[in-house]
Assembly symmetry: C2
Homo-oligomer: 214 residues x 2
């Protein structure tokens, strides 16, 4: 699963006027970073505000000055990452211009993810959790998975037009199967990191559904 491809200098919050707010802004970002760690390690329900507060070295109640509820904090984390990944892929648009570059992009994202285990855990864990009734980010993840399948499919459609997909492979199947394999192998990796190589599995899958040697 591809949480993001680019680096962290988040462009989301509007630039503050001057000195007094700078520290506050930094605090806010520290909290978001800590939330990624904690939600990524324990999921949303089991992740506690106390642990997040401990990580940034403040009192749990102080968090409410930055985020009104625990739910809002989670949503802020997800929105922040979305903003980052939107720099890479616009919804509905192919992610790259040249069909030949599509597999390489997938692998680049996967490789980059390896350096962000917290984010991986966050999205895989919370996605699974969010399928349960009454979960606050249920709708968000339904929408997210639809969007990812659409983005992937538009990339594979480029390849399809160029005759680069293996016989019988539709862009839609390529999209959902790639996403599925990615998520599933990542889950095996979370359970036992030494057991599988996510990037290598993705690479092999891509060479099977395309006619390229990736």
């Amino acid at each position: 699963m591809p949480p993001s491809a680019a680096e962290s200098p988040s462009p989301t919050p509007p630039p503050r006027r001057r000195g007094a707010y700078a520290k506050s802004e930094q605090r806010r970002r520290d909290i978001l970073a800590a939330a990624v760690t904690v939600f990524g390690a324990h999921g949303y329900r089991a992740g506690s505000l106390k642990e997040i507060a401990d990580l940034v070295g403040m009192n749990p109640t102080s968090l409410f000055h930055y985020f009104p509820t625990k739910e809002a904090l989670l949503q802020a984390v997800l929105d922040e990452r979305d903003a980052v990944s939107d720099q890479v892929a616009l919804d509905g648009e192919p992610m790259v211009s040249r069909a030949e570059d599509v597999p390489a992009l997938f692998l680049r994202i996967a490789r980059n993810n390896e350096s962000l285990p917290g984010i991986i855990g966050l999205y895989t864990l919370v996605a699974a959790e969010s399928s349960t009734p009454g979960h606050p980010t249920r709708e968000y993840f339904i929408e997210r998975y639809r969007r990812i399948r659409r983005q992937f499919a538009s990339g594979f459609a480029l390849m399809h037009e160029a005759g680069l997909l293996a016989p019988g492979i539709t862009p839609e199947y390529a999209a959902s199967s790639t996403l599925g394999l990615w998520d599933g192998v990542q889950m095996q990796w979370m359970i036992e990191p030494e057991a599988v190589d996510v990037v290598e599995h993705l690479r092999r899958h891509l060479s099977m559904i395309t006619t390229l040697e990736v």
Copy 2:
């Protein structure tokens, strides 16, 4: 992910002597069934004993007469399903004797799973959850995933010897990629059941990694 392939008449508990215990034994099984439903819907941490007790129509504290702790109840659920699935596949042994039958067995299990959404949710959710530090079934799932990969690989090894695997596909890669795709597509299905067809994805994956028309 393949929780089990056979039906529910659990062989696990030894047969009780006579009438007085029959009801108690039934209660125990009712509780296990309710636990599958609740843990399958909410996971382990968010699943409450109260909800399980409500489902079987008894007081939450009465559950402790059958299972000493919540953790023991979860473990009993997992063990029970393991016993069922052991009827189908013995650890280390190929799951079927004829190499040509291997893909069909996978599809049969997947099709059977469709009628057991609670079980699916249980294993997918709790597996994801169990990757978190300090989770009571962490070790269990590490072992379980190893075992499944081994079982799958021994089935694919049969096919390999018969020359039925596609060029470049090893039994080990066939195993981990099939498991991964299965889990990942199942996760998409849990998030939005209408979005993907698990059996069909599995079927296509199997026809790509083998030389059979499955």
